[in-house]
Amino acid sequence: MKSYALFLGCTIPARQPHYEASARKALTKLGVGLVDLDNMTCCAPPPLQSIDLETSLSISAYNVCLAEEANLDVVTLCTGCYESLAMANNTLKANGKLRERVNKILSSVGKEFKGTQEVKHYLRVLVDDVGTDRLKESVSKDLTGLKVASFSGCHLLRPSALLKFDDAERPHVFDDLIEALGPKSVPYKNKLKCCGGLLRGYADDVALAIARDKIVNTTKAGVDCIITLCPFCFLTLDLGQMLIKSTFHEEYNMSVLHYTELLSLALGIQPKELALEFHKIRLDNVLNKIK
């Protein structure tokens, strides 16, 4: 079975060990290898792209170079890391002039971007290297009693011209992977709309109003939980409900889980192995429905 260079990024090791633990344990159980490389850095996400695109592109390319040297494709958990690294990888593979410009900068650290490897999101690895049939066969718990709202976040899908992950207006890959585990993925209003997470720190009021919409719309759909992929979406929707409570005096108690946590639970990994105490909103209602 194939091995990948695991790109963790900043937020997951800093704040979300539940994401990392579930992602590692599930993929290992499914027989995909993960390699931790030395000297990776920040992926150069939108906040850095906002400061200087040439710098962000060079930093993303530097991290891809580390995987090239190890002769490994990259897998990311965070969709923000996925977007930064995949956009840089795909742009530099296609644009020789820009590649030359970036390689000039990378020569300062003795690297050269060659364009020999792929950057994949975790979900793509599940599709390509495990497959939905084997995924279904690997499920050992009954999750069919769960109704969930899938929320992939923006940067799994867009800009689709560069990422080519799924149809940006009518995506299905994420929902298929959820339903392969047993739960029903329920449609809800403005499902593909942003969570506002990237505005936190600059315009907190706007960010919180957008996050509140997501919580209201998923609550109206009558789901047991929201399933996320991006650590910022998770933070915005999970911790965000504390802020919604103090700002709008509204209490929703909508559970939020990363897909890898749902996957781990479906594969029979014990909840106590998953660092679930890092969730702000309790998960009892979800765990009680898993038989």
Partner: protein
């Protein structure tokens, strides 16, 4: 309304300047249909942000207003507008080009100066928490590999990022 005297001078070549920057290449293709604004989650929430207006003002040469009034920092980078633009204007990337230009001209929101400081110090935007790092073995997680902060510093020096004047100014 501003009087003629207060009005900042127009920069007729502003859109060309942006079109020559990384990310800004497609700005002049805009024909102001408004698909971006009607697809924008932020524009639905606050009247302080409208991507169509930002492009219009840029095409009209209103450089000072675009770079300094704070609106460009309200884009949530969701790329919905870019996905739907019938003219293939890469709107979210154009906003990055405008932000890059604003930074160069000294219009730097505090939070971005903080991001930059973290990056220059540790090679990461979000610092590792000692508390979480210590607990990793409890969750069966391997020791964290060292971050490439030396490589990061060299790249930041090669692109001139570390010479940006990080004078704090809240552009709002």
């Amino acid at each position: 309304m501003e009087s003629e005297k207060q009005r900042k001078p127009l920069s007729p070549f502003f859109s060309e300047e942006i079109a020559h920057r990384l990310g800004g290449e497609t700005i002049t293709l805009c024909y102001q249909c408004g698909t971006c604004a009607s697809s924008c989650p932020v524009a639905k929430t606050t009247d302080k942000f409208n991507p169509r207006d930002i492009i219009k003002l840029s095409l009209l040469g209103e450089k000072q207003q675009v770079l300094s009034d704070g609106a460009i920092w309200l884009c949530s980078s969701c790329y919905n507008c870019q996905e739907r633009c019938p003219q293939k204007v890469e709107i979210a990337d154009v906003i990055y080009a405008l932000r890059n230009t604003a930074i160069k001209e000294g219009h730097i929101p505090n939070i971005y100066a903080e991001f930059a400081a973290g990056l220059m110090a540790e090679g990461r935007i979000v610092p590792i928490s000692k508390f979480v790092e210590k607990k990793r073995p409890e969750y069966g997680l391997p020791t964290l590999k060292p971050a490439g902060s030396d490589a990061m510093k060299k790249i930041l020096s090669a692109t001139g990022f570390d010479r940006i004047k990080w004078k704090k100014e809240e552009a709002s």
